[in-house]
């Protein structure tokens, strides 16, 4: 947080996450992104007359798991409500959501900045509730075009809405909150959190607190929408804070002043500006009432407790363990944990195989992760098992081959799927026994009396020429071994 600013930025987030269930929330249609328009629909999700919803319990269970992970209270009774509004992508004319009795409330997420720019902080979670997603309008209503099209595939996709307290104080904190939240949801296998495909969406509420003559003034709250990446969220909020401050300086309008309503602004990332959206949407009355077609949902204390026990190790605990048990620097732990649990599990296997956490971490960060990002796959698709990589690293550690030769072998293993031994053979790498190395060194020393003389005079660097010649004659020799041997033999001559 920047203490030099004349205001405090107050931010709360509403994050919508599509749940990774097999089927939709209220029908049996497949829950999948990217199918041809309107191919994943049925009378229920298309809102046809007479169709009725039936809750997919696994969507509720997944939501409870997420809420427990967010330290929320889980009421043993929750219910559904209808949120009524007209829109082309909402075929029923209402969205089935949760209003006054959400499935969870009063939770928190602890965030910490790996760069240490702000101290550890607890962000309150007001509630997390479940609702159905709407379809997608593939038209431009504003332009009044005749050929409006609607894709209902997304209709009825389970959506978890996570509403934070207005506890965030800067775009930087927002960035950390979002990436920690995303990581948590990925660890709990709630969602793939893919912002490009819309499975994670963020709306922000923001205003400023300003001290004026010893009194705290608040600017009107603005909701910012249409932010398609975490970076866009941060940019939009940074822009909005400045915009609100300038507007306040101009107009002096405060929250609660007569005529002040909540404004909704849409972020244009290309232009780097936000624009006010039509005021009609702000004043809408959703006429919530209990959904008569769905019975309330109940859960027992024991079931909630089972969810708590099944959470497993969450990212924060995992970072701590990597530092404590594997002596990793915090930066290393952070990088590994942020890659997701499967990569951490790969690390555990590798570190176990070679009995060294830091070296395992180095190889993973320098070689494995580089490959993953270049090829664009996850650790699940990495062709070399941790045990195989471990055996290769063990050879390097035993000085059977150099680190750079080791990298060549790994590259060969990745491309061919061979074991380390087979890969070395393919590359013509064979271990040179010490008698052969000694024989080679003697020959080189005899052929290079000048070098021997230099060494005897204390010019140790001269031995480098012999190491080079040795590698030319046999690429498999260990350079360090050649160096040490030549120095010793020259001394004896």
């Amino acid at each position: 947080m920047n203490d030099s600013l004349p205001y405090t930025t107050i931010i709360g987030l509403e994050v919508h996450v599509q749940l990774a269930t097999r089927s939709k929330l209220f029908c049996r249609c497949e829950n999948r992104y990217g199918a041809d328009p309107n191919t994943l629909t049925c009378p229920v999700c298309a809102g046809l007359p007479g169709a009725l919803p039936v809750m997919n319990r696994s969507a509720y269970e997944l939501s409870v798991r997420a809420a427990v992970g967010l330290n929320c209270e889980i009421p043993l009774f929750t219910k559904w409500d209808r949120k009524n509004y007209f829109y082309a992508d909402l075929p029923k004319g209402f969205q089935t959501s949760q209003f006054d009795l959400p499935l969870s409330q009063h939770g928190y997420l602890d965030i910490s900045d790996p760069k240490g720019e702000f101290s550890d902080k607890r962000i309150g979670i007001i509630r997390a509730h479940l609702e159905e997603d709407a379809g997608k309008s593939l038209h431009d209503e504003a332009a009044g075009k005749a050929d409006s099209r609607i894709d209902l595939n997304r209709c009825g996709t389970p959506l978890l809405e996570i509403v934070s307290e207005p506890d965030l104080r800067s775009p930087e904190e927002v960035g950390i909150y979002l990436s920690d939240l995303k990581l948590l949801l990925e660890y709990l296998r709630i969602s793939d959190c893919n912002m490009q495909e819309g499975s994670l969406r963020v709306d922000a509420n923001i205003n400023l607190h300003l001290p004026v003559d010893g009194e705290l003034k608040a600017t009107p709250i603005v909701e910012v929408k249409n932010m398609n990446s975490f970076r866009a969220v941060q940019r939009a909020l940074a822009y909005e804070a400045v915009r609100q401050y300038e507007q306040w300086q101009e107009s002096g309008r405060c929250l609660g002043d007569p005529g002040v309503t909540k404004e909704t602004r849409g972020w244009d990332d290309d232009a780097g500006v936000s624009r006010s959206q039509r005021s009609k949407e702000e004043s809408s009355d959703y006429r919530y009432f209990p959904e008569p077609d769905l019975p309330p949902v109940v859960i027992t204390e024991a079931e909630v407790e089972a969810h708590r026990l099944a959470l497993g190790e969450l990212p924060a605990a995992l970072r701590t363990r990597l530092v404590a048990e594997y002596q990793l620097p915090e930066g290393d732990a952070d990088v590994l944990v942020n890659q997701g649990r499967p990569l951490v599990d790969y690390f555990f296997s590798l570190a176990g195989a070679i009995d060294d956490g830091k070296i395992a971490s180095n190889w993973i960060q320098q070689d494995v992760m580089r490959y993953l990002s270049e090829v664009g796959v996850t650790i699940d698709d990495y062709p070399v098992a941790a045990e195989q990589l471990g055996s290769l690293i063990a050879d390097v550690l035993a000085k059977k081959l150099s680190t750079s030769r080791g990298r060549e072998v790994l590259a060969q293993m990745v491309s061919s799927g061979e074991t380390p031994q087979a890969a070395m053979q393919s590359l013509g790498i064979v271990e040179v026994d010490s008698a052969a190395t000694e024989q080679l060194c003697r020959e080189l020393l005899e052929a290079n009396p000048k070098v021997v003389a230099d060494i005897k005079e204390g010019k140790m660097k001269a031995v480098g020429a012999l190491v080079g010649q040795a590698k030319q004659r046999n690429p498999n020799v260990q350079p360090q071994e050649v160096r040490d041997l030549c120095l010793r033999l020259a001394g004896e001559m």
């Binding site: 009378p43 039936v54 009524n84 004319g93 009044g144 009432f289 008569p292 077609d293």
Partner: protein
């Protein structure tokens, strides 16, 4: 006796004994429809060809000795708010005048599985909103007993079809009395089951927490037989009740011993027509004669039932009918005016809904939208829910002392067509005795018990606790064994 005068049970006996085929029977009912449709307008459409095909298929299966269903070869008329995958399902609305459902309602699937022959769709008040079948976009249905009078509603077409011998049995739906009131006005038996006993999947929703599908027929036994087909759990309806389903047509003939009937005090006061009162009182005495003990019972909150009902049902309707917006299916207005303020989409919604819905439907959407609006929700919707709980408690208290409740179905006999169209409040008050069972989710039955001097049918209402349909049908069956109101037929104009 003509084929169309038989009960469904009698028809089944004659098909089993090979005295009649479903083909004969179906042809006879279709002929009756063709002959009298112009007078009664009970059906909005029928499928003679499809019905005959089904009938023939069932006949040949019966001929081959294959097992057949509980209603094998029996013609049925179903209300036009039940989705059928063949032909149009319109809810008697311009909005859905050409709408074809891609699927069958669960009750339609069940009828088909029981080998019933679905003749066609019964006329109704638009979206089941009305008590006279006058709000239908296809014109009013006429009461077969007196053509200038209403048949009741909203299932007026289904009731009139049975009364006019166009079908031995039919299906209706009941949100505030829409099975029982037309059954009373047309002199047939109508059963509104316990909420959730019959799946609502495929019933075009009006008031989702109140809607029930139920059977109508001349005799309690026929109604019981259809009920055995309709009832049961449906995984597609989350509010459907689990548990075993009795064979109602078997148990309904069993004698009832020591039944305690409670007469609802509040339903014999102001507003009840003298002739209706005296017929209902006679029916109560007949039940006494059958061995029932009768005591008076008070339902202290029932006087608020109409007020609560006309908040809750329209509130749910305002949401249920939001989907009819012209965007996805059904009627869409043309020549959308340019709306500078709201844009073309909203302008399209507006014109479509203004033109596609009738006046009564729009009135109820307005009522419901208002009740749910910010600032009014607590005063209207929430209070209505509280009254609903109090009424349910009144019923629960009553059933601690009596087995069933008895009273009138309607305050008056069927009124004249057009008489109350300009006075919605008077029309709404006609539901006073029936909405209680919907608010409490309990079963109730309308049983013919006499005719007025003018020749209009009068009925008595039997109500019971949850899942007491068996008892209600037993009572009705016992009554019909001692009376012959159900044997009377209206005089329709003879065919030329």
């Amino acid at each position: 006796m003509a084929i169309v005068d038989y009960t469904a049970t009698e028809l089944l006996e004659r098909m089993d004994s090979r005295d009649l085929t479903s083909r004969d029977i179906t042809a006879a009912y279709l002929a009756q429809i063709e002959t009298h449709h112009g007078e009664v307008n009970a059906l909005v459409r029928w499928d003679a060809e499809g019905a005959m095909r089904t009938a023939e298929a069932i006949d040949s299966r019966r001929e081959l000795g294959e097992p057949v269903g509980l209603l094998a070869g029996v013609p049925v008329v179903v209300k036009d708010n039940l989705c059928t995958s063949r032909h149009v399902t319109s809810c008697a609305s311009r909005m859905l005048a050409n709408y074809c459902s891609p699927y069958d309602a669960t009750v339609i699937e069940r009828l088909k599985a029981a080998d019933a022959v679905i003749l066609g769709k019964g006329n109704m008040d638009e979206f089941a909103m009305g008590a006279s079948t006058e709000t239908s976009a296809f014109g009013p249905t006429h009461n077969p007993w007196k053509l200038g009078h209403i048949p009741g509603g909203s299932s007026g077409g289904s009731a009139a079809a049975v009364a006019a011998s166009m079908a031995p049995v039919s299906l209706g739906s009941d949100t505030g009395g829409s099975i029982r009131q037309p059954s009373a006005h047309c002199g047939v038996v109508g059963l509104k089951p316990t909420y959730g006993r019959v799946s609502r999947y495929g019933l075009i929703a009006f008031g989702s927490s109140l809607d029930c599908i139920g059977p109508m027929g001349r005799t309690a036994e026929d109604v019981a037989r259809v009920m055995s087909v309709l009832a049961g759990n449906d995984p597609k309806d989350a509010t459907s009740i689990a548990g075993p389903v009795p064979r109602y047509e078997m148990s309904c003939r069993e004698p009832l011993d020591g039944v305690r009937l409670g007469v609802i005090d509040e339903q014999f006061g102001e507003g009840l027509d003298d002739e209706v009162a005296s017929k209902v009182e006679m029916a109560i005495r007949e039940f006494e004669g059958l061995g029932a003990t009768v005591t008076n019972i008070s339902l202290p909150h029932i006087r608020y039932a109409i007020a609560a009902y006309y908040i809750i049902a329209p509130s749910e309707a305002s949401s249920n009918l939001a989907r009819f917006d012209g965007a996805h299916y059904g009627y869409r207005a043309e020549d959308i005016p340019l709306d500078e303020q709201d844009g073309p989409l909203v302008a399209m919604y507006r014109k479509t809904r203004r033109e596609g819905f009738g006046e009564e439907v729009k009135r109820r959407i307005m009522l419901g939208t208002y009740s749910l609006s910010a600032g009014y929700y607590d005063a209207y919707y929430l209070r209505a829910l509280k009254i609903r709980r109090l009424i349910a408690q009144d019923f629960a208290d009553a059933y601690k002392n009596v087995d069933f409740l008895i009273g009138p179905v309607t305050p008056t006999p069927a009124f004249e067509i057009g008489e109350k169209m300009e006075d919605p409040l008077a029309m709404y008050l006609g539901d006073s005795y029936t909405v209680g069972a919907n608010l409490a989710g309990l079963p109730a039955l309308s049983l013919p018990c006499g005719h007025t001097a003018e020749g209009l049918p009068v009925a008595v209402q039997l109500q019971g606790p949850a899942l007491s349909e068996e008892g209600l049908l037993q009572l009705a069956c016992a009554f019909q064994q001692e009376s012959d109101w159900h044997l009377m037929r209206p005089e329709l104009t003879k065919a030329e």
